[in-house]
C-alpha cells in the first residue's frame, strides 16, 4: 500500500471536515466500545487471562525461531508447502509463481492485512488475474477502489447510501435501500465466484507450532469457503503470528473476539493443517503457507518489540480519542490508530511517518484495553525520542526546545523571563483577562476558545510575598 502518513495533518483535517465519515465514526464508536465492555464481563478473571496472554505472546517472541521451525516441520509432515519471504515484493512474487504454476485465472481472497501491506491485489491484477475480495467490507472497499480504514471493519467509513449507489452501478441491478438486502445481494454476486475460483488466498490469525496449523477467525464464512473450495490455497502470514499450543490459541481467542467486536466467540474458527487428504472429498490439492518478515525482525530487535505481541483485534483504535475523530485513512497506511502509529514508522521508515507517534495524547486508553498488554503509549514515546535523536523534528520545534533548555537550566534567567511573560500576558489580556488570539500554532487552540491571561505575578513572586507576610 502507498504510504501517505506524512500527510497526516492534511488527511486528518479532511476527515474531520467530512460529515459522512464523522457520522460513521460516531456510530461505530458507541457500538464497539459498549460491546467490548459488556463481553469482557463474561470473564470474571479477565485480568488474569490478559496477563497469561501477554506471557504467551512474549514466550512466542522470545522463542520465535524454534517455534517456527517446529511449526514448519509439522506443517510439512501434513503436506503443507512452506515458503519464506523477506520483503513484500518476495511475497507477491511467490504468490504469482504459485498462480502461474497452476494456470490460475480467478482468485478469491479472505481478509489479509498483510496482503494490504504488500499491495498483493495490485500485483495480481497487473499480472492479468481476476482477484475478488470476499469479506463484505473488503469487497465494498475493493469495488470503490479504496483502502480499508479499519483492520476489523474495513468499510466502516462508508454509509449505507454510499454502498447502495456503488452496488447499483457495479452490479447493474435496481438500487436497494436496506442493509440486509445489500448484504444478501453481495452474497448472491460472490457465491458463483467461490464455486469456480482456481485459487484461494487467506491470512492467518495464528500459526500453531504444536500442530503445524494455520488458523483464521471469521464471521461470514468466506474464510472457510476460501480455504476449502478452490483447488489451490495460499495463506500469507507474519512470523510473529506463531503461538506454541492449541491451549494457548484457545486462551487468546477468548480475548481476541471480545476485544475486537465484543463477541464471546466469532462464528467460524478454522484450523487448517495441510491440503486435501487422500480420502477427503474436498479441500485444495496444494496448500501453501508464506511466512513473512517484511520489517518484523527489525521490530523484534528494537526497543518497541512488544508491538509484535499484537493479535490485531483493533481495540486500541476503537478506544482512541484521536482515531474516533479522524478515522483510519488519516493514518496513511495499513494499520491505523495507536498500533498503526507504532507499526507504520517501524515498517515503512520512521522518516515516512513523522506525525504518527505524536498523534496521541498518551491518555493510555489503548494500553488499558489491549488484550496482550502492549504498553502502547510507552512505545510511542520511544519513537518520539528516536525522532528527536535522529533530528527528524521540524527546525522550529528543535529551536524552541533548545531555547527552553537554555532558560530552564538557568534559574535567574528563567525567573526573569517568566516575570516578563506574566506581565506582558496581563497587559495583553486587557480588562477581561482573556487572550483571544495566540500567535503561530497557538492560533489553532484559540480558534475555538479564549485563553485565560496570566494575572501579572509569577508563582515565585506570590510565594516570596506569602513567606514575607507570614513572618
Amino acid at each position: 500500500m502507498q504510504v501517505s502518513s506524512n500527510l497526516f495533518k492534511q488527511n486528518a483535517r479532511a476527515q474531520l471536515a467530512n460529515e459522512r465519515v464523522q457520522k460513521a465514526l460516531r456510530n461505530a464508536k458507541g457500538k464497539l466500545v459498549v460491546a467490548r465492555a459488556r463481553s469482557i464481563l463474561e470473564l470474571d478473571n479477565f485480568e488474569e487471562i490478559r496477563d497469561a496472554a501477554a506471557r504467551i505472546r512474549d514466550f512466542a517472541l522470545q522463542h520465535m525461531d524454534v517455534l517456527l521451525e517446529e511449526w514448519e516441520k509439522r506443517a510439512e509432515a501434513a503436506g503443507t508447502i512452506v515458503h519464506w519471504a523477506r520483503t513484500p515484493q518476495e511475497v507477491n512474487e511467490l504468490v504469482l509463481e504459485i498462480a502461474r504454476k497452476h494456470g490460475v485465472r480467478k482468485i478469491i481472497k479472505s481478509k489479509s492485512m498483510l496482503g494490504e501491506e504488500t499491495n498483493l491485489n495490485h500485483a495480481l491484477e497487473d499480472a492479468g488475474l481476476d482477484v475478488r475480495e470476499t469479506d463484505l467490507g473488503e469487497y465494498i472497499i475493493q469495488q470503490f477502489g479504496e483502502t480499508p480504514s479499519h483492520i476489523i471493519a474495513p468499510a466502516v467509513h462508508k454509509s449505507k447510501d454510499d454502498i447502495a449507489d456503488l452496488f447499483a452501478t457495479k452490479h447493474k441491478r435496481p438500487r436497494l435501500n436496506d442493509i440486509t438486502a445489500l448484504t444478501h445481494e453481495a452474497r448472491e454476486i460472490l457465491r458463483p465466484h467461490f464455486l469456480d475460483a482456481d485459487m484461494g488466498i487467506s491470512g492467518a490469525n495464528f500459526l500453531v507450532a504444536e500442530t503445524g496449523s494455520t488458523m483464521i477467525v471469521t464471521n461470514e464464512g468466506n474464510g472457510r469457503m476460501t480455504t476449502t473450495l478452490p483447488r489451490v490455497h495460499v495463506a500469507i502470514t507474519g512470523i510473529e503470528k506463531v503461538v506454541p499450543t492449541l491451549e494457548d490459541t484457545a486462551l487468546l481467542l477468548r480475548l481476541l473476539t471480545r476485544s475486537a467486536t465484543g463477541q464471546s466467540i466469532s462464528n467460524y474458527l478454522s484450523f487448517t493443517t495441510g491440503p486435501k487428504r487422500p480420502r477427503d472429498t474436498e479441500g485444495p490439492t496444494e496448500f501453501h503457507v508464506i511466512i513473512v518478515d517484511a520489517g518484523r525482525t527489525k521490530v523484534l530487535a528494537s526497543e518497541i518489540r512488544e508491538a509484535l505481541r499484537c493479535i490485531r483485534c483493533g481495540a486500541c483504535m476503537n478506544h482512541c480519542p484521536v482515531y474516533q475523530n479522524i478515522g483510519g485513512h488519516a493514518y496513511g497506511w495499513v494499520y491505523p490508530g495507536p498500533i498503526g502509529s507504532i507499526l507504520t514508522p517501524a515498517y515503512v521508515g520512521i522518516e515516512n511517518a513523522i506525525d504518527l507517534p505524536n498523534a496521541s495524547t498518551l491518555c493510555n486508553q489503548c494500553g488499558v484495553v489491549c488484550p496482550v498488554k502492549i504498553p502502547l503509549p510507552d512505545l510511542m514515546r520511544k519513537l518520539r525520542e528516536q525522532q528527536v535523536n535522529k533530528k527528524l523534528r521540524p527546525w522550529s520545534e528543535r529551536a524552541g526546545l533548545r531555547l527552553w533548555t537554555w532558560a530552564a537550566t538557568r534559574p535567574l534567567a528563567y525567573a526573569m523571563l517568566a516575570r516578563m511573560a506574566a506581565r506582558m500576558g496581563k497587559w495583553l489580556g486587557g480588562r477581561h483577562g482573556l487572550l483571544r488570539r495566540l500567535p503561530g500554532s497557538g492560533s489553532e487552540w484559540t480558534s475555538g476558545r479564549d485563553l485565560p491571561a496570566p494575572q501579572g505575578k509569577t508563582f515565585r513572586d506570590l510565594y516570596a510575598r506569602q513567606k514575607r507576610s507570614a513572618r
Partner: protein
C-alpha cells in the same frame, strides 16, 4: 543465504542468540512446552454443560430442539422446517442415511452437498458448552461444505458429546484421533456480518440459520 535462513538468523540475532548457540537442553525445554498442553487460567464455569450449551446456542442465534433418540430426529426436523416454512429437501452426511426421512415427509439424500442445496444436515465431532459451539473435523464422511453452503444447516448433537470448553474439545480429539484432519472448524451460530454501518445481518456467505437437534438426555 536463502530467505528462510536469513529470517531465522535475524530472529536469533534479535533475541541475542547466534545460530547453534542454543543448547540442546534449552531446545528440549521449548519442545516440552509444546507437548505439555497445560491450560491457562479459565473463567469460572459454574454452569451445567448441557443447559449452558442450549442457552449459548440461542444467544448465538441458533435454534434448538430436543429428541430422546436418533429415531426422533426426522420428525423434529420436519416440525422445525414446517414451522419456519423452509423447503423439506436436502442432503445429509452418510452416517444419517439410515434415518427414516421419508416417514417424516422429508426428502433427504446421503450425498455430497450441491451448490443449489437449501438444506444440509450434519453431525458433529463434539459441542462446546462455553459458547454454544459446534466442533467439526473434515473428512471423507464429514465434509465441511455440508455445514457451509446451504442456507439452512441442521446439526445433530448427541448430548453425550457436549464438553465444556475448546480445551476439552482438543483433548477429546487427541484421545480419539492420531492427528489433526485437514480442517477443524468451530461454528457458533449462523454466518453473519456487520460490515455495513455496524448493523448485524445473518447469512453473509454461509448459512442464514443453524438448527441444533439435541439427542438424548
Amino acid at each position: 543465504m536463502n530467505a528462510r535462513e536469513e529470517i531465522l538468523s535475524r530472529i536469533r540475532a534479535a533475541n541475542g542468540r547466534e545460530a547453534g548457540s542454543m543448547t540442546e537442553r534449552q531446545r528440549v525445554a521449548i519442545l516440552e512446552k509444546l507437548a505439555d498442553r497445560s491450560r491457562g487460567p479459565l473463567p469460572t464455569m459454574d454452569w451445567e454443560p448441557v443447559q449452558h450449551f442450549k442457552e449459548r446456542c440461542i444467544a448465538m442465534m441458533s435454534t434448538v430442539s430436543e429428541v430422546e433418540s436418533l429415531d426422533g430426529v426426522p420428525h423434529a426436523l420436519a416440525a422445525y422446517l414446517n414451522g419456519s416454512q423452509l423447503p423439506a429437501t436436502g442432503a445429509c452426511w452418510p452416517e444419517f442415511a439410515g434415518l427414516d426421512w421419508t416417514g417424516a415427509g422429508l426428502t433427504v439424500e446421503a450425498r455430497p452437498v450441491r451448490a443449489d442445496d437449501k438444506l444440509g444436515i450434519t453431525g458433529v465431532f463434539c459441542a462446546l458448552a462455553e459458547n454454544g459451539t459446534l466442533m467439526f473435523l473434515s473428512g471423507e464422511d464429514t465434509a465441511g461444505s455440508m455445514s457451509l453452503l446451504p442456507e439452512t444447516h441442521v446439526a445433530i448433537v448427541p448430548v453425550s458429546r457436549i464438553v465444556r470448553i475448546m480445551e476439552d474439545g482438543w483433548d477429546l480429539l487427541r484421545r480419539e484421533r492420531d492427528a489433526l484432519p485437514r480442517q477443524v472448524n468451530f461454528v457458533s451460530g449462523p454466518s453473519r456480518t456487520a460490515d455495513i454501518e455496524m448493523t448485524l445481518v445473518l447469512g453473509a456467505h454461509g448459512p442464514f440459520r443453524v438448527h441444533v437437534i439435541l439427542v438424548g438426555r
